[in-house]
């Protein structure tokens, strides 16, 4: 017997946007889409279920989401079920947990649904709920939310490496243009450099188009042990490597130089090693572009380019079709929107369709290796690497 392996065997997604739907409507829709993607699997075949969701207790007045979500997807788990949460990295954490549950022998097939209902009717409450995501007692009580934090990250990177506001903007232009071919994205109209540069200022240097969008959405995948996976599809998408790290909490406990993220570099190295590849082997990646500056720093720390050259990397088209690695073909968090618990699962859905040549007009030709990355803080990173074989 060789080393056990785990693979995606189904993936589905809902339209992201300000949805006319409840928390559970989104779950049901993602569940259906997931089962529709592979007719060899029915809800009754699923005995393990994980939901990834961040704050339904607040936005939907709904706790205990795991059995609710399982039931709304037709699943009555008898082997493993729970809710996994890690703020913006919840989706990737949930898939890692599914991987662990299978590798441990507790089960051989897990459904993972990621979901967030963000767009409550009161605009005030959307922002209020966001404050729960940082340290409430020492940071959020001052209204500290990610935009000003990442603005300071951007300033540090610009100051140290000469990154320009135009380079930041080009990340947004690329991702908005990618999403034109993603019917599930929140934004599908594309964006010009001028549109991004002249969009409303949020916290200098970040403008509205440098930021990911609040949105509702859900996505689902089914993960299985290799033997079972092969019986369910002739094109399983294998999990080759994974890593996770958290280097300090709250925000001010991270290393002092915010322009470099050594913890991401460390985690990427570990994930590459586990996958037996290097950064140059990655054909397509969905990385956590919560803000444009994040994607630029991620190019560097993931090893797609040298440290400090992330701005030039996007400027040179190296993160777009025809470049070194296609980053965020789906449109990323910036264009798809960022329903927290769903985002990592949406990335896995993109892995599934890209590595099966099912991504239509946004297909990365011949893609063999896909990297998915979430962050939940400057020093908190979650990585999954997928392969066609």
């Amino acid at each position: 017997m060789g080393q056990k392996r785990v693979a995606l065997v189904a993936a589905g997604i809902t339209k992201f946007g300000k949805r006319k739907a409840t928390f559970r409507d989104l779950i049901a829709e993602a569940g259906k889409a997931t089962f529709d993607s592979n007719k060899n699997i029915s809800p009754k075949d699923v005995k393990a279920f994980i939901i990834s969701t961040v704050y339904p207790e607040r936005s939907a007045f709904q706790g205990h989401p795991a059995p609710l979500a399982a039931e709304w997807c037709g699943v009555r788990p008898t082997e493993f079920h729970e809710r996994v949460e890690n703020q913006c990295g919840s989706g990737t954490s949930a898939i890692r947990t599914a991987y662990a549950a299978i590798m441990s022998g507790l089960t051989d097939l897990v459904m993972v649904v990621g979901v967030e209902k963000v767009m409550v009717p009161s605009h005030k409450e959307i922002f209020l709920n966001a404050m729960a995501g940082s340290d409430r007692e020492w940071e959020s009580c001052f209204g500290v939310t990610p935009p000003p934090l990442f603005a300071m990250v951007a300033q540090a990177h610009m100051q140290k490496f000469g990154t320009t506001e135009e380079q930041l903007a080009l990340v947004s232009v690329k991702n908005h243009n990618h999403s034109k071919t993603n019917p599930y994205a929140h934004h599908q109209k594309g964006a010009t450099l001028e549109q991004v540069m002249t969009s409303r200022l949020i916290a200098a240097p970040l403008k509205l188009f440098d930021c990911s969008t609040n949105t509702d959405g859900a996505a689902g995948v089914i993960v299985a042990l290799e033997e079972r996976a092969k019986s369910l599809t002739d094109k399983p998408v294998y999990i080759l490597g994974t890593a996770q790290i958290n280097d300090g909490y709250p925000w001010v406990a991270y290393p002092k130089d915010w322009s470099t993220w050594p913890s991401l570099r460390f985690a990427a190295q570990k994930a590459y090693e586990m996958a037996g590849i290097g950064p140059k082997d990655v054909d397509v990646a969905e990385v956590h572009d919560c803000f444009t500056i994040s994607e630029i720093i991620e190019y560097e720390e993931l090893g797609f380019c040298k440290k400090g050259e992330g701005g030039r990397f996007v400027e040179d088209g190296q993160s777009d079709y025809g470049g070194e690695v296609v980053v965020n073909p789906s449109g990323g968090l910036i264009a798809c929107g960022h329903p927290f618990g769903a985002t990592g699962v949406r990335q896995a859905w993109e892995a599934y369709i890209q590595l099966r040549d099912e991504a239509g007009t946004r297909q990365v030709k011949g893609a063999e290796i896909f990297l998915g990355h979430n962050l939940s803080g400057l020093g908190e990173h979650h990585i999954l690497i997928y392969g066609r074989s």
Binding site: T22, S59, F61, W72, N129
Partner: protein, 150 residues
């Protein structure tokens, strides 16, 4: 037991995080027809057009076969009490003891839990028949209570 006013069932209707009554309109909820029916004094749920499966509560996707081709169906007009209890202590904010909660079984094989309203706790017995009693909730919403069938 005195009849509840709408305010009894709500904490703060202007703060969603404190408001347990569901959103019921098409801009927020895909099972909104349930509430439209309720406003017409009809208690309904969804049945799958593809496999015939019926569930409570209503859904947008069949949990048996994942079809989204569902249709609305009325409950039988009366249900029967399988069990009930009178809660006199530890009732949540916005509610007033005594609260009579009943498990109500219907001929369509579905069970609903709901409070009985306009009902003297001493008049309730297992096996009693109950009928729908729609109660208004803040912001033009409705809830499905039951009362003893006369």
């Amino acid at each position: 037991m005195k009849e509840k006013t709408t305010e009894d069932y709500i904490i703060d209707p202007d703060v969603y995080i404190c408001d347990p009554v569901p959103q019921q309109t098409p801009d927020q909820n895909m099972v909104y027809p349930f509430y439209d029916h309720l406003r017409d004094n009809r208690l309904t749920t969804t049945r799958c057009k593809d496999c015939g499966h019926i569930t409570w509560p209503p859904k947008i996707v069949c949990t048996e076969c994942m079809s989204d081709q569902l249709e609305w169906e009325d409950f039988p007009p009366t249900g029967k009490i399988y069990a009930f209890t009178v809660q006199v202590g530890g009732v949540p904010p916005g509610f007033q003891a005594p609260l009579v909660y009943a498990l109500i079984d219907f001929d369509n094989d579905l069970r609903i839990i709901s409070p009985l309203i306009d009902t003297d706790p001493d008049d309730v017995h297992v096996g009693d028949e109950v009928v729908l009693k729609v109660v208004e909730a803040p912001r033009d919403r409705v809830l499905f209570f039951f009362k003893l069938k006369k």
